[in-house]
């Protein structure tokens, strides 16, 4: 991979973002793991959070009680 110019960090993010978010689509989402910790990506350069945190966040925002209301 070649960074034509610019900082290496930005170049790496740009490259990773393309590999994960662009290209021919064959499947769905990806769970990335770095240093043994599973990380969920939404877009790599925007948000990396642990799978546990993401599931908790999803549970809080998506769970609906029997009356159809989301919990406060």
């Amino acid at each position: 991979m070649t960074a034509s110019y610019g900082t290496n960090d930005v170049a790496l993010v740009e490259v990773l973002d393309r590999i994960i978010n662009s290209g021919v689509v064959l499947r769905g989402d990806v769970v990335l793991s770095v240093a043994g910790i599973d990380l969920v990506y939404l877009r790599l350069d925007l948000l990396l959070m642990s799978v546990t945190s993401a599931r908790e966040l999803a549970r809080q925002s998506l769970s609906v009680d029997s009356s159809g209301r989301t919990p406060a």
């Binding site: 991979m1 070649t2 960074a3 034509s4 110019y5 610019g6 900082t7 930005v10 170049a11 740009e14 490259v15 990773l16 973002d17 393309r18 590999i19 994960i20 978010n21 662009s22 290209g23 021919v24 689509v25 064959l26 499947r27 769905g28 989402d29 990806v30 769970v31 990335l32 793991s33 770095v34 877009r43 350069d45 925007l46 948000l47």
Partner: protein
Amino acid sequence: VIHAYGIVTRSDGEDLSRSVASFRGIDGAPAQVLLRDRIAAVFTQHAQRPSAALEAVMSHARLVEDIWRWCSAVLPVRFDGTMTDVGFLTSALDERSEAAEQRLARVRQCVEFGIRVTPVDPEDGPADVPGDANGRGYLMRKATLLRHEDEQRQRAERAVRSALESLPARPLEWMSLPVSRSEATVARASLLVRDDDAESVLSQLAAVSHHERGVEVTVVGPLPPYSFTEVAL
């Protein structure tokens, strides 16, 4: 399971199949070529789904680049191209062979460049931000800052657009990429450029980046044309 890396023309696939065993993918797995009537795909086989670690992502990228250097054109498959078996890939290729072939013709002898525009000083806000002594003040301040960020993004996008439109060696295609409020980045874009024009486009973009005040323009590439595949298998 199998993991796919890229789609190439049938003739490139035939050439590639003679040397592909020396190419390695994720976990060092030897690359293989699946030849179909008009197109072909490069993949590796694994006993179980490869772990989605950073190392695996980079191995994926390296094999895509190997294919790209070898072939006249490649449609890179994004990293999540893991399938149960070759039968799935065969059906996917056959169903979309015409679209893939057309797209391969478009990206032949082309490279992708990524552009990212970031403010030199991300903390540099508007001069007249109201104080936040109370709730209303807080909201006023927030609104002013958001407006400032939106204006900065619009300016950056206009600057990128005008820079690209003024280049003597124009990109074949370019697209503006979405930027989130959580990023310091104010604009992002992908360019599809002919091999022959790559050097001149690059030097022109470098010149543009020196003219835009208050922002830093980073250009990354040349890359395989990840952003210009337009084929969903």
